[in-house]
């Protein structure tokens, strides 16, 4: 068994003359989102065509047809295949990390949005909003001037003569 046969994705066909290569990867190995993610990275420098080989008597495979937008040598095509394999792993890891941290990401985002919206008021504060007071009522005596509030009475000891 050669290294090319054991690696994933496997190089199914390589056509130097037309800068074309076909990769195959087992369907169960990579989720479809991972395949899309990797294909997206290559879309600017290669023509990408995805296909599916249902497979009779063996596991199904995704086929990835890549063709360089510019002419590519044999080595460059092999490098392209390697890069695609790396990108698949990178996308798979990214997906795993996002999944693991989904709750934290959602919580931070919620807090950031709430903060930007001016924060939320406690519910009991909102419930007690109507306390039956007029705006001129001053039950805590906040509007009473300091002198009036703390004026010592004439007959109190220590009062000025």
């Amino acid at each position: 068994m050669t290294a090319q046969e054991t690696q994933t994705p496997t190089v199914e066909r390589l056509d130097d003359a037309h800068s074309r290569v076909t990769l195959a990867l087992e369907i169960g190995l990579y989720p479809i989102d991972v395949l899309y993610g990797a294909a997206y990275i290559f879309i600017d420098r290669a023509y990408v065509l995805l296909d599916k080989d249902e497979g009779v008597g063996r596991p199904g495979r995704y086929l990835v047809h890549l063709r360089g937008k510019n002419p590519m040598s044999h080595e460059q095509l092999l490098a392209l295949c390697g890069e695609f394999g790396n990108e698949l792993l990178s996308q798979a890891l990214r997906r795993k990390v996002v999944k693991q941290n989904q709750k934290i990401i959602e919580e931070i985002t919620t807090q950031a949005i709430a903060g930007a919206a001016g924060g939320t008021l406690p519910t009991d504060f909102l419930a007690n909003q109507d306390d039956g007071l007029d705006f001129l009522d001053d039950p805590l005596g906040i509007a009473v001037p300091w002198e009036e509030k703390f004026k010592k009475k004439k007959d109190e000891p220590g009062a000025a003569p």
Partner: protein, 77 residues
């Protein structure tokens, strides 16, 4: 030299019909597109390809169809 008429098979599990239609609209000035179902694939018959057009119209169309599919699937999540 590219063929004047070509048929591209896009797997229905991997490409969305609306995404293919959208790509066909994008390239409507450069070719004519007819989309039909053929087993597990969408068969896109591409004809009247503008010989003056820069680049490979068919391959660019496929890239657009793929990109549009990705965009639509992402919006669905």
């Amino acid at each position: 030299m590219s063929n004047p008429n070509q048929t591209v098979l896009l797997h229905r599990a991997l490409y969305m019909q609306q995404a293919i239609k959208q790509a066909a609209e994008t390239f409507a000035d450069f070719a004519s597109f007819a989309i039909s179902r053929q087993g597990a694939h969408y068969a896109v018959a591409i004809s009247d390809i503008d010989a003056e057009a820069d680049g490979d119209v068919v391959a660019e169309f496929c890239n657009f169809a793929l990109y549009n599919t990705m965009q639509r699937k992402r919006k669905k999540i």
